[in-house]
Amino acid sequence: MSVASQDTAVKTGSIAKVFIYLILVLFALFYLLPLYVMLTNSLKPLSEITGGDMMSLPKAWTIEAWLSAWSTAQVGVSPTGLRPYFINSILMVVPAVAISTVLGALNGYILTKWRFRGDTLLFGLMLFACFIPFQIVLIPMARILGILGIAGSTQGLVLVHVVYGIGFSTLYFRNYYASFPTELVRAAMIDGAGFFRIFWRIMLPVSGPIAVVTIIWQFTNIWNDFLFGASFAGLSAMPMTVALNNLVNSSTGVREYNVHFAGAIMAALPTLLVYIVAGRFFVRGLMAGSVKG
C-alpha cells in the first residue's frame, strides 16, 4: 500500500480516502438504481408493484412478465409481444453495421495512404455529417425512400443507417490508419502491390482493434436509434426501440409495469451484452468519438 501511494503523484490523507470511497460508492448506487428497480420489478407479479415498494425484492418471483413482453403483450394494436421487433432490429443492425464498417475501413485507408488534393476537406465534410441534427434530413429522406420503393422496409432502414454511419466509421479507421507507417505501404507499392492487395495483406491484418471499436460503436448507435425507426419503419419493419415505446404507451387496459420493465431490459440486453463482453473497447470507441487523431 505504502509503495503504491508513493507512486501516486497526488497524495491524499486517509480521512480524505474514506470520503472519496463514500462519494464513489454513492454515485455507483445512483447509476445502478434504475437497473435494479427495472430488474426486480420485472420479476414481480403486477399486484405487488401497484402500491408496493419499488425497492423491495419480489415476494413471489415470476418470469410471467418476461414471457408476456416477449410473445403476447400488446404492442400498438397487435398482441404480438416484442419478438417480431427484436428480429426486425437484428435484421437491420447486422447488414448496416457490416456495410458501414467495411466502407469506413476502405475510406480510412484511402484518406491516409492514397492521399490526394482536397482529401482533408472531404474528410471534414464526412465528419460534419456525423454531427448534423437528423431532423434536417427527415423530410427528403422520407421522399427518397418512397421513390426507391423501400419506404417502411428493413432495407430502407439499412440504407439510412449505412449512409449516416459512414462518417463515424471513416473517422475511426482514418485516425487509426494515420499512425500506421506509410513507408510500409510505399514499399509494397514499389514492389508492385496494388490498391486491394495492400489493403488485404497489410492493412486488414492490423485492423482488429479498430474494427472492434467501430463495430461496437455502430451496433450501439443503430440498435438504440429511435428517430429513424419511428420515421421510416412503418409497422412491418419497426425496430425494438420504437416497439418498446409503443408497448409502454399502449393505452388499452391496465398498465402492466412489470411487462414494460421486462421489455425495456430486452431492448437493452444486446448492447449491454456487447458492453459487458467488450466494454474496454466501447470506452475506447467513445473516446475516439471526440475527433482526436
Binding site: 503504491a4 501511494s5 507512486d7 501516486t8 503523484a9 497526488v10 497524495k11 491524499t12 472519496i20 470511497y21 462519494i23 464513489l24 454515485f27 455507483a28 447509476y31 438504481l33 434504475p34 415498494d53 419499488m54 466502407l103 476502405l106 492514397w114 490526394f116 482533408t120 465534410l125 464526412m126 460534419f128 455529417a129 454531427f131 448534423i132 441534427p133 437528423f134 431532423q135 434536417i136 427527415l138 423530410i139 427528403p140 429522406m141 427518397i144 449512409v163 449516416y164 459512414i166 471513416t170 496494388g194 490498391f195 429511435f226 426501440t241 418498446l244 415505446n245 409502454v248 414494460h260 449491454l272 456487447v274 458492453y275 466501447f282 470506452v283 467513445l286 471526440s290 482526436k292 487523431g293
Partner: protein
C-alpha cells in the same frame, strides 16, 4: 519498349484511379443524403409546404411565423435550460468522478464500468426507467411514503414548471459516466513529473488541481462540451420516452417540435425552418471545432 512504358503508365494511372472509384460511393452518399438533403430542406423552409412538399416560394415567411409561435419559443427556452444544466452538471460530475477515481482507488475496475454502462442503453430504455422512478404514485415518492417519510414530495414530472428538470436528471444519468471517461483519459495523459515538481514546490492538492491539472485538461473540456452540446440539441428519444413533451407542452424541445409540426400538424414549411435553425446552431459550434482539429493536424 515504347509499348511497355505506355502499358506501365496505364497501369499506374489505373492504380491512381482505383482509390477514387472506391471512395466515390461513400462520397456520393454523403453529398446527396447529407448536403443535398440540407439544401432540399433549406429550400422547403422557404416554401408554403403543408402536408406534402410544395415548391411555391414564400421567402422567409416560415421563419417569421416560426419565431412568432409560442410553442417554438417554449421549445427554445427549454433547450437553453436543458442544454445549460445538462452540460454543466455532466461536466462537474464527470470531472469530479474522474479526479476521485484517479487517486489510486482500489476497485476502479469495478466502479468504472458501473459509471459507464448507461451510455450503452437506448434513451427509450432510460426514459422508461426514469418515468416510472419519478412518477409520484409509483416511484420514489411512493416508496418514501411507504418507508414512513409521509411528507416527502417529488412530483416534478407532473409539474409543468419542474418537468424540464426531470429530463436533465435522466440525461445526466445516461451521459455523465461517459464524460468521466473522457476526463479520466485526459488525467492519465498528464505527465506525472509536472505534478511532482509542483508538490515539491509546496502546492496544496486543491491548488495543484486548480492551477495545473484543470488547465491541462483543456482539450478534454472542449471535446466534452462539443459532444454534450450536439447531444443536447439532438435530444428527441428521451423526451418522447420520459415526458412525451408534457405535461402540456412543458418539455417540448426543438427536435420534438420539428417532428410534430412536420409529420402530425401538416406544417412542413415550418418544420423545415425549425430543422434549419437546429442545424445552424450545431454548425456554429461544430464548424470552428472541426476546422481547428483538422487544421491543426495538417501542420
Amino acid at each position: 519498349m515504347p509499348i511497355r512504358t505506355t502499358r506501365a503508365d496505364l497501369r499506374t494511372r489505373l492504380q491512381d484511379f482505383i482509390p477514387k472509384i472506391v471512395l466515390a460511393p461513400s462520397l456520393a452518399a454523403i453529398l446527396i443524403f447529407v448536403y443535398g438533403f440540407i439544401v432540399f430542406t433549406g429550400y422547403l423552409s422557404m416554401t408554403d409546404s403543408k402536408m406534402l412538399p410544395s415548391f411555391d416560394f414564400v421567402g422567409l415567411d416560415n421563419y417569421v411565423r416560426l419565431f412568432s409561435l409560442p410553442a417554438w419559443n417554449t421549445a427554445l427556452i427549454n433547450l437553453v435550460i436543458f442544454a445549460a444544466l445538462y452540460i454543466a452538471i455532466c461536466t462537474v460530475i464527470g470531472l469530479g468522478l474522474a479526479i476521485l477515481l484517479d487517486q489510486k482507488i482500489r476497485g476502479e475496475g469495478v466502479l468504472r464500468p458501473i459509471y459507464l454502462y448507461p451510455m450503452a442503453l437506448s434513451f427509450i430504455v432510460t426514459g422508461t426507467a426514469w418515468k416510472w422512478f419519478l412518477d409520484p404514485g409509483l416511484g420514489l415518492e411512493n416508496t418514501m411514503h411507504l418507508w414512513g417519510w409521509t411528507d416527502f414530495q417529488f412530483n416534478w414530472i407532473k409539474d409543468r414548471h419542474m418537468a424540464i428538470y426531470t429530463l436533465v436528471i435522466a440525461a445526466v444519468w445516461q451521459t455523465s459516466g461517459f464524460v468521466m471517461a473522457m476526463f479520466l483519459a485526459g488525467l492519465r495523459g498528464i505527465d506525472n513529473e509536472i505534478l511532482k515538481a509542483a508538490q515539491i514546490d509546496g502546492a496544496s492538492n486543491f491548488a495543484l488541481y486548480r492551477r495545473i491539472v484543470i488547465p491541462l485538461l483543456r482539450p478534454a473540456f472542449l471535446s466534452a462540451f462539443v459532444i454534450l452540446f450536439h447531444m443536447a440539441i439532438k435530444s428527441y428519444d428521451l423526451v418522447i420516452a420520459l415526458t412525451g413533451g408534457g405535461p402540456g407542452r412543458a418539455t417540448e424541445l426543438p427536435a420534438t417540435f420539428m417532428y410534430s409540426y412536420t409529420f402530425t400538424r401538416n406544417s412542413m414549411g415550418i418544420g423545415a425552418a425549425s430543422a434549419v435553425i437546429m442545424l445552424m446552431t450545431v454548425a456554429a459550434i461544430m464548424i470552428p471545432y472541426l476546422y481547428s482539429e483538422l487544421g491543426a493536424k495538417k501542420e
